[in-house]
């Protein structure tokens, strides 16, 4: 099996008396798009900065792009990775090409102009090379920042809130670019609090709020946290719902919704339970409007965990 692109073991960072990241242990496989989700102030950027050798961990260890995280390996790690921070961080008085040429020089590239051209082509910006960055829209600046992150052909790319503040069109463009990275086999460590983004882009996600709360594929997380359910809607409220839903194969329980004629039926396996529920409804003469499987989004998972944290926090 390939060595992971990233691995952390009890990685911790304290700032004075405050612990920003507490005992983070996870692995990210090569070529994986890994979502790192958490609320503002959860320690996501601190984690990225530690893995990018910008700040030192207080304790714990990590391997980044095959190298042990240590001050001696700092230069070599930074050569193998790239970080795109939340703010694009471009030199606004320089042109697009000048910005990238500077970074090509910092990576010691032998043919900087070709690399700059290739990176700009990857983000469809070859026609804007001479334009000053101060004249670009926020979305275009984000694209230039992404081109900069691709310059050194990194093994691991850290994207810190790459769509923060972007309009839907620019957001979709950035999503397309991340998909492009996946198809190039680049490992992507995506920090975001946009859950639909993580659900759409990531192979696995970690939900993090100072400590690692849960890690897995989006569907896996839903299954871990929530029982599956069917949502039943009828024209009129059922006279005796318990008689309809109780004792059916695969049904674990039920509850009535706030609206009359709305019911949530907890099931083990929807494909077994749904036909039985449908037959039972027909048997009592109910006028069925819909019978669907309840969809739990990643947002439900996230909110459930973050709310637990908020409730557990001492007042």
């Amino acid at each position: 099996m390939d060595a992971p692109a990233l691995a952390t073991e009890q990685l911790t960072r304290r700032f004075g008396g405050r612990t920003a990241v507490d005992g983070l242990s996870l692995t990210v496989a090569k070529g994986e798009v890994f979502g790192f989700l958490g609320p503002n102030g959860a320690g996501k950027s601190t984690t990225v900065r530690m893995l990018g050798t910008l700040i030192r961990p207080s304790s714990g260890s990590a391997t980044v792009a095959g190298l042990r995280l240590s001050p001696e390996n700092g230069v070599e790690i930074r050569r193998r990775i790239s970080i795109m921070p939340e703010s694009p961080g471009l030199y606004l008085r320089l042109s697009v090409a000048e910005n990238l040429e500077c970074f090509a020089g910092l990576y010691g590239m032998s043919q900087p102009k070709e690399r700059v051209r290739a990176a700009l082509a990857a983000v469809s910006m070859t026609d804007r090379t001479g334009e000053l960055c101060q004249n670009l829209s926020k979305g275009l600046r984000q694209r230039v920042a992404l081109a900069r992150a691709l310059l050194n052909d990194p093994e691991v790319v850290f994207l810190d809130e790459p769509t923060s503040g972007l309009d839907p069109v620019a957001t979709r463009e950035v999503h397309g670019l991340i998909d492009g990275l996946r198809s190039r086999g680049t490992t992507v460590f995506l920090t975001t609090h946009r859950l639909e983004e993580a659900e759409r882009l990531c192979d696995r996600v970690a939900i993090f709020n100072r400590t690692l709360r849960l890690v897995g594929g989006p569907q896996e997380l839903r299954d871990q946290l929530f029982t599956r359910a069917l949502v039943v809607r009828t024209v009129k409220a059922l006279p005796d719902p318990a008689d309809v839903f109780s004792g059916l194969p695969g049904v674990q329980g039920w509850s009535a919704g706030q609206e009359p004629g709305t019911y949530t039926v907890m099931v083990k396996e929807p494909t077994i339970a749904a036909p039985a529920v449908a037959r039972s409804l027909v048997a009592v003469g109910a006028d069925v409007l819909s019978l669907t499987e309840a969809h739990r989004s990643l947002e439900d998972v996230y909110l459930q965990l973050i709310n637990e944290d908020t409730e557990a926090r001492p007042q």
Partner: protein, 242 residues
Amino acid sequence: MSFSLGRAAAIFTKELRDYRRNRFVVMSMALLPAVFIVLPVVDIVSVPAQVASPRLDNRISLSLLYMLLIPAFVPSALSAYSVVGERDQGTLEPLLSTPLTKEELLLGKGFAALVPALCVAYAVFGVFLAVAAGLAHPVVRSAVFASSHLLVQLLFTPLIASWSIWVGIAISSRSRDVRVAQQLSVFASFPPLALVALMSFNVISASTGLALGLAAGLVVVDGLGWRAVAAMFDRERLLTGG
């Protein structure tokens, strides 16, 4: 850890490109020398031929001291902006995320402040000499062109500029506000200038030996400045402000 001149050169080029389009930098480069050349030129042209020799020497020293304010102030304005300016623009984190070492970063930024400062300082000194050659009284002219004056000017210009740069960068890497950094840097540029002033006005009796000794001292201080500022420079503190 390998030192790469290429990476330092990338920073140097980037800085020069940025200065070129930075109105504040362009204005500083243009206005400061303009201010500092007016008085010496007027003075040198208006000195009467019969002025007593010690007084003439004093007036020329004062004029030349004005010239030395240029290498003190111009690079301090640039270097004070160097780190805190990156932080202000949000470019510091992408920069520090590359293989660039702090020594390379400081050297690139230092040279980028030194080169334009020297160009401006020597150009202004050249204008001063041209005016003296063309318009000053022959007695004044020959005093201005005395080899000791020229030597002090040529020698101390880069040394004072280098001092200003390292002090400016050190202050910049510890500041959170560009203007505060620039004001502090200007103040911190004074010590070597004060020393030259004391020599110029014969408070410390000047001799070629003393001037060369001081210059040698400044060379050592400037050389150590790079390492000293690099030692003070900490990626983590720059990013977290801790």
